[in-house]
Subunit: 178 residues, 2 copies
């Protein structure tokens, strides 16, 4: 069966700095007409960076959408058409002050497939050259190092809730521990 939904009509509701919101009228299977409210987003890159003594870089920052401080692996948005590898290299250095010497692709995740087109590309970084951090002026970040066991406990006890971080740990466990 063909489950494809075909665009009949569409409008751009908002075209902002971080995201664009569109509303499309679509034809679903069985000639059902419906609407899809979709966020268009350039995507992101996130980096599971593990030091030689097996510590993981986590950054802690205030997230306005949740009104909470969250632990996350270093990450950032892609510029339009930017190679995720380049974004991963840049964001890791900006947020931790370390340039990756070895950056391995883990996979891509779709954070919330019902309404956003965002794709987050996950990388594993394992060798570093110390440089310096470089934050955006509205970006306030603290950097931490935790062991893999500590990170696993923080997921289970709810201290880590960020999906890309949990997914990156899952890729690592499946590739290197399973």
């Amino acid at each position: 069966m063909d489950f494809t939904e075909k665009k009949i009509d569409g409008e751009v509701i908002y075209d902002g700095k971080v995201l664009k919101l569109i509303k499309d009228k679509v034809l679903c299977p069985g000639d059902v007409v419906s609407y899809r409210e979709i966020i268009l987003h350039h995507g992101g890159a996130a980096i599971l960076a593990i030091t030689e003594d097996k510590k993981i870089f986590l950054v802690k920052q205030f997230r306005y959408a949740y009104n909470e401080l969250l632990y996350e692996i270093p990450a950032g948005k892609l510029e339009k058409d930017e190679d995720p590898y380049d974004a991963a290299m840049r964001e890791l250095e900006e947020e931790t002050g370390n340039r990756a010497d070895n950056l391995e692709y883990l996979g891509v995740i779709y954070p919330s497939c019902g309404y956003t087109s965002e794709k987050i590309h996950l990388y594993l970084a394992t060798k570093f050259v110390k440089t310096h951090t470089n934050f955006d002026k509205d970006e306030n970040i603290e950097t931490y190092l935790f062991s893999l066991d500590e990170v696993k406990k923080m997921i289970l006890n709810g201290e880590i809730k960020d999906a890309k971080t949990i997914c990156a740990i899952n890729y690592y466990m499946l590739k290197y521990e399973n």
Copy 2:
């Protein structure tokens, strides 16, 4: 240091069926003024449902935001102020035709913390009573059963990209296999 960002002003840009878009003017630490484009969303519930012979329910559906068919664990949006437990019970039954006899809370994930307030609550279902499916009229879903090993392979080879599905597997591995 207080990293909190305080709302100075705000506007509702769009108030739709699935999501609401707001743009807030905020005061960041160091008296930096910035803007936050945020999706307000009621949140969701997703269910890792494992049969007695250790098979996992995955649903396959077309996702317009990606123009792709995706494998996901059963899931759905919360109604305003709905208990995620009730939503998990409902969505599992609607999408798989099985009512859970045992529904255990795994944790909450934040799918994309930079711009959406959505929280997805993850549950583990392990005992079922056979009932019947009940799809929305614009929802076209196929249900599959895969072993845990198959699901792990599908994550690694990119057949599963959905973040909530990968996170649920991670919770399961951390709780029951680690």
